[in-house]
Symmetry: C2
Subunit: 192 residues, 2 copies
Amino acid sequence: MVASPQNVQRMPRAQRREQILDAATRAFARTGYVATGLDGVAAEAGVTLVLLYRHFDSKADLYRAVLDRACARLEATVGSSDYDESSISALLRAAADDPDGFRLLFRHAVREPDFRDVVNGMQAMSAEVTRRELAAVIPEGPWLDWAVQYVPTVTLEGVIAWLDAGQPDPDQAADRIALVVHSAIRAANGVD
Amino acid sequence: MVASPQNVQRMPRAQRREQILDAATRAFARTGYVATGLDGVAAEAGVTLVLLYRHFDSKADLYRAVLDRACARLEATVGSSDYDESSISALLRAAADDPDGFRLLFRHAVREPDFRDVVNGMQAMSAEVTRRELAAVIPEGPWLDWAVQYVPTVTLEGVIAWLDAGQPDPDQAADRIALVVHSAIRAANGVD
DNA sequence: AGCTTTGTTTAAGTCAACTTATACAAGATG
DNA sequence: CATCTTGTATAAGTTGACTTAAACAAAGCT
């Protein structure tokens, strides 16, 4: 005989799916894809492991769904805007709206070869756009390469540090991160 | 009957150990602890899987040895110096001396809870020293927290980007990273 | 009331990666 | 030459995590 489950939280399918995605985002944001077990995800969501498989075909499928949603949210807030002043504000807004997703994308997903393709929609922003913008200001050579890698990192890490610091005044934050970014661009052109 | 191995590279035990550590550092630097298989490490070292176990008790043991050596090298070059101008030069020198170890420590090991303790000898540098230095310049509050996390990251990512850019002129690099670091500190105090 | 949907429990299957065991080949050394 | 050390090859044991299956309970809708 099977014990009868008390206090089961029933939910329409779509809503449950979202709730699982929320929990999975939190869980994966802590330790990334490989090191995070589905046990942990299920526990975080407060449901059974089996239920996960009623909503997603596999671990990879779930992870892709998590990343896709995080990407979609990010792009909805940031858009394909050029890499100008306002885009830092937009990034801060996006990070505040979905902190776990933001951290997941930029602390883990970017270094997971199997899923890099999902983030490529934004590596366009991060790499190609940046290079085009920077190439107009920095002469060809190793220091341009340096800046192309460094500037996005400085931006994103500034945002993440802002999240971790408790999200003080977003407008100030945008100005301050912009200051650092500009100094990085100036640095790539030589100190003097 | 067993095929006779041709062209076996014999080596004194200590030297083989170092060679394995080199290969393991490269392998782990690519994908971190969990996602890197001992198969891959053995292949990278050009030896058999079984031989790994003649030198190290387990995967965790091997990884610890790799991290310990990378830490030791880093500390030998950087020392427990204060966080002043010269320490950026020292970091660049250390990174150039052991690029794979450097990347392994600061892109992977810092986010692997099971092995964080190994890196703690330098989280002293990264966290405590930094906080003391910054607390003298930045008023208590969320922006101090922001800077305490952001400044070390800006420093280390600057170094890694420099590695990836082909290590152009170390002296220039030190000046340029210092410029960005100082601008981050200034930013934490407000833009104006 | 009866059917569908959502959920649980329990159990078992699969598979990759870590780990250990055994036997053999060949250089180094006294 | 005898022996120790370094190395390979092959096979099997172990474990943890992903995955599937089956049976049952209860909420919700028609």
